[in-house]
Subunit: 396 residues, 2 copies
């Protein structure tokens, strides 16, 4: 394949929103891990942001049954009415919340939901407050539509979650809104509902938008189930079938939006996506069945055991995980007592211990060299093996 | 569901790119058709832009086999390497073209491909030339990224396709590129390769981008298979598994882009989509098998017979289809001898003859009231029934 220099591109320049994106540093590590594996090395994968469990059997069966008939046409742009109703029933049964199915928009993954919500809310020059460290794609959804992402630094002492005072201090004339994630990627921390309620009141006062990313909802360990939707109708919630429901590759998620925004986002969905995957939607109809929830709860318990094992093992080796990681499947470890640069350390971890992990630089811009994200998307035996290898490495 | 006035939206205003989109007029007709059907009326659907055939059996079987294992994880952002290679092989076998698989990007439908290509090429204020009438979503992909869609009127005498002279006349200082569709939706017409070659030379001369929408490729009747990729590496081609391959609801498409643009579009794909649907990608691996192509060719022949039947029947009733519709599954009829407003006529056609069709106003802005799009996505018997009903209506 011919490679062109950027200034000699045959069809004109690449737009800033694309050209300016830094590649994920973890890609370099994953490529190295792959070549080590090809050479016969045993690599423990703790860099991966997807569950290692297969799609649950009940969901697979629902998809197979649907495909038997072979009629895989488009669905309405906002999703199968039955699926929107099933999601509303899930909010009722699990969270005691009454959500109008009309407000539930089925999307091509949480990615599709974020894209639609940001497209609907962002005018050129609008600023969005994004907790840092946070999900790296958010800044690019903002930039996609001419918005300006603004880092809101959140410290380990704050559980890597914003508080009302810092949001208020950061909120400026051009601020359009804030995106909060709970549980958070990369830190696994939750926001305290009362604090989120205060942030919500602030966004209400400023006539701005609160977007709450709940894509790891369900994957919490010890906390009562809670959704930001309990705060009122005037906020945007993003969710997904990928993580708790174990359906990453199906690319299916949803958004819950305030009533006055549904029709315009529907038009965007018609034009940008036509509709979300039809087999995925029919498969997801089985996601809320008691049989499937029982399976997902067994998996949640397994994740809890892994978290406890990893957390205890790291602490035993004096590797600090300062914030209480109560959800998702990540620990955000402070490796500053071991190294000065977590990206270099991630390379060392891979080369010398055969462990892949994701450096902080992929998630944040303040002291990223202190941090390493470890995903417990591998089983307890492998986690114990990883801990043993880390112990050996640190003894050297 | 509470409805808010636009000026009292609780989370701030809706962005222009969403609020300014006119709803599709056909939606109103489809809602009416649905309530007529609920009341027992027999409606002939000629408004639908998707094949009435089920997903072909070979593709369904491939999906089922893949799902048996239950492991439905993310794929690489640009798609399964095997699928990218299969698409390259398809270009070789069917079109005699050698396309580097690295240039082939698997996307969430052609919609995802258009979104990524426009995101990569459009800076705020860039102008894109869009043939009018044309696919209505294109202007919203352009507007998504701050671009300005500019109508390039194409007349029936031009087969509703642009020529080099008119593109040259319309090309201005801020023009970023042009999107051409062949076969075209809503008109079913093809562009003459030599004319497209001249337009390509012009975009090359202006250091601009030529985007060719080939999503109806394969659905042509009497023309030799051809792809704009024969013109060189320096253009963008959009394609889809939806139409010829009969996979609409799976949401899978692809783009072929010039070598220098792959890496940046890959970054956008990672951030905006993560990856396209995994079951769809595994299903599509079976799309190019000889068994499946044989089935698709049988369907193509069926579409040809439908087109001939509909075209002949309309002409017999003095309803003009002025441009030669050699592809897709649409005829664009000039109904100006019957009515002054094709939208009102579409309502009459539905009310009095039980036929649903799409008015020109959904596709173009110059004299849209002359035009009606009739999709032959229903079988010959139903098409003959529709023709009989139209004859009755016109006798009144």
């Amino acid at each position: 394949m011919t490679e062109y220099l950027n200034d000699s591109l045959p069809c004109g320049a690449i737009a800033g929103r694309a050209g300016d994106i830094a590649p994920f540093h973890v890609m370099e590590l994953m490529a190295k891990a792959q070549s080590l594996e090809a050479a016969g090395r045993d690599i423990i994968h703790m860099e991966v942001g997807e569950p290692d469990f297969a799609t649950p059997p009940a969901v697979i069966r629902a998809a197979q049954r649907f495909l038997d008939a072979g009629r895989v046409g488009y669905t309405p742009a906002l999703g199968l009415p039955r699926l929107r109703e099933a999601i509303a029933a899930h909010y009722r049964d699990r969270f005691g919340l009454s959500i109008d199915p009309e407000r539930i928009l089925v999307t091509a993954g949480a990615s599709g939901a974020l894209l639609l919500v940001l497209a609907a809310l962002t005018e050129s020059g609008d600023r969005w407050l994004l907790p840092d460290p946070g999900y790296p794609c958010n800044r690019n959804f903002v930039r996609a539509f001419g918005g300006i992402p603004e880092s809101l630094y959140v410290s380990a002492e704050q559980s890597f979650q914003p508080d009302e005072a810092s949001v208020r201090a950061a909120w400026g004339e051009k601020t359009r809104g804030i995106i909060v994630a709970s549980p958070s990627n990369p830190t696994g921390t939750l926001i305290v509902p009362a604090e989120l309620a205060r942030i919500h009141a602030l966004t209400r006062e400023r006539h701005g938008a609160l977007v709450v990313d709940e894509i790891y909802q369900g994957l919490t360990y010890g906390q009562a189930p809670w959704s930001a939707l309990a705060l009122g109708e005037d906020l945007f919630v993003i969710n997904s079938f990928s993580k708790y429901f174990g359906m990453t590759g199906w690319r299916l998620g949803w958004a819950v939006v305030p009533p006055g925004y549904v029709r315009d986002i529907e038009k965007l969905a018609q034009h940008y996506f036509i509709s979300a995957s039809t087999p995925a939607q029919h498969a997801a109809l089985a996601a809320f069945s008691p049989e499937n929830i029982a399976e997902l709860e067994r998996r949640r318990e397994e994740f809890r055991i892994r978290r406890d094992t990893l957390l205890k093992g790291l602490k035993a080796q004096d590797i600090d995980v300062p914030a209480h990681a109560e959800g998702a499947f990540y620990l955000y470890a402070d490796v500053s007592r071991i190294c000065t640069d977590s990206f270099a350390f991630a390379h060392r971890l891979l080369d010398e211990a055969g462990i892949a992990a994701t450096p902080g630089i992929d998630f944040g811009s303040r002291e990223p060299g202190r941090w390493l994200r470890l995903a417990y998307t591998t089983d307890v035996t492998r986690i114990e093996e990883a801990l043993a290898r880390i112990a050996l490495l640190l003894e050297r």
